[in-house]
């Protein structure tokens, strides 16, 4: 038994794949997996929202409503607004919610739909409304959010997005990516929700009054999005579609459906009981 000094091949214990090629395919694969995961998570969250009964929703989020809307001294038009809300929701027979209206003490005209069936309108909105039709469209829009269960979808989607995106990008340490992309995605999604709620609300107004005149007047009172945010590229960052686009979309929708766009406006109760009703 003798020794023969021979060197074995030195390249068998290392793989021959090029490190950059391997890295590239891994990144592509991870991105694809992240995309699929995100889509699945969004679909799951939407499905879960559809199956969550409104009664459970009210129980889960009831506290939110009470905390969110402290009732200011009763507004002269609050009763009228409640009445309009009740009449509008009668045109949505499958409504599973017990809708409630509360007034938020704020000068900025605005309205919100809170999970559980609570509609919050600001004092500014009630003060500035020129006709019942205008107010009805805003309330109809909020009912539209309930019909689409947008508030829950938004919560579920935000949760799903942040979970999947941070699972993918968190490992790389780029935490701005999940934060900002989920921001962008949820804002784009919110704009679609706003459009859907607009259409639903307009439908309710049409069924109640027989025409949709005055519905778009509310937008004139919104802080001008275009003035605040500049050109259309930036409109992506704004939750609500730019006002002009939204008004145009409303008119197009009314035309498609063949709804009358002119008709008598219903006056609202005067703010000061002695003054005559404000008729535009």
């Amino acid at each position: 038994m003798s020794f023969d000094p021979r060197l074995p091949r030195d390249d068998v214990n290392v793989s021959k794949t090029h490190p950059l090629a391997e890295a590239w395919w891994l990144v592509v694969g991870a991105a694809a997996a992240g995309l699929v995961l995100t889509v699945v998570a969004l679909a799951l969250s939407d499905a879960a929202v559809r199956w969550l009964p409104p009664s459970l929703e009210a129980r889960l989020f009831g506290g939110l409503v009470e905390a969110g809307a402290a009732e200011p001294p009763d507004h002269a038009r609050a009763a009228a607004a409640r009445d309009v809300l009740a009449r509008l929701s009668s045109h949505w027979p499958e409504n599973p919610y017990e809708l409630q209206l509360s007034v938020l003490d704020s000068d900025t005209p605005n309205a919100f739909a809170l999970p559980g069936g609570s509609v919050v309108v600001t004092r500014g909105l009630l003060d500035q409304a020129e006709s019942e039709n205008e107010l009805a469209f805003v309330l109809g829009h909020e009912i539209g959010h309930f019909a689409g269960r947008h508030h829950l979808q938004a919560i579920g989607r935000a949760l799903a997005l942040s979970l999947t995106l941070s699972a993918v990008f968190g490992s790389v340490g780029a935490d701005a990516v999940p934060r900002l992309t989920s921001d962008l995605a949820s804002k784009g999604y919110a704009r679609r929700q706003e459009r859907a709620a607009d259409r639903f609300g307009l439908g309710l107004v049409e069924r109640e009054y027989g025409h949709v005149a005055g519905a778009d007047r509310f937008f004139a009172r919104l802080p001008d999005a275009k003035a605040r945010f500049g050109d259309r590229a930036v409109a992506w960052f704004v939750t609500h579609p730019v006002t002009e686009q939204r008004i145009a979309a409303l008119h197009r929708f009314a035309q498609e459906r063949g709804w009358r766009e002119s008709g008598p406006l219903t006056p609202l109760a005067p703010l000061d009981p002695r003054a005559p009703a404000a008729v535009p």
Partner: protein, 158 residues
């Protein structure tokens, strides 16, 4: 800060670091492999085997336990690739070159040390790999791997 700038910074800076560490890491690795081969050729005449018994005909005048070890660590680029690879499974090429380098280095150190001490052969060689400092990083990824080579060095009479 503009969101796109923030995204660009958060993805661009690591990308630059990745490419830089890839360049440096692979240059270091190529150099190490070249040196390893050179030293292997230089020390090839010394028998190293896992056999436990002294080959018949050898006149052994002394023996000693010898060891050689090497701790190596991944560069940033390889750690990144390995991190992604753990999602998909499969061959971790970046660790293979690392371990190959460490193992050959450990064997060479053992041989060179034995040779310096006057020994001319090593039998009963054992190789062992262990993870060092498993909690060196917050995600539990290793900070380094140690390879230990050990054997019995023989002093041969003629």
């Amino acid at each position: 800060m503009d969101p796109w700038v923030e995204i660009g910074l958060q993805l661009g800076v690591p990308l630059l670091v990745l490419l830089a560490t890839y360049g440096i890491g692979s240059a270091v690795e190529r150099r190490h492999f070249r040196l390893l081969r050179m030293r292997e050729i230089r020390s090839r005449s010394m028998p190293v085997a896992t056999i436990l018994e002294v080959p018949p005909g050898w006149e052994v005048t002394g023996s000693a336990l010898v060891t050689g070890s090497c701790v190596v660590s991944l560069d940033y680029f390889k750690r990144f690739v390995a991190g992604l690879r753990l999602l998909f499974g499969g061959r971790l090429a970046s660790y293979e070159t690392l371990l190959d380098r460490a193992r050959r280095e450990a064997l060479l150190r053992m041989k060179e040390r034995a040779h310096e001490a006057g020994y001319r052969a090593i039998i009963g060689v054992r190789l062992e790999t262990s993870q060092i400092a498993p909690n060196g990083r917050r995600d539990g990824r290793t900070a380094g791997v140690e390879v230990l080579a050990s054997g019995t060095a023989l002093r041969l009479g003629r």
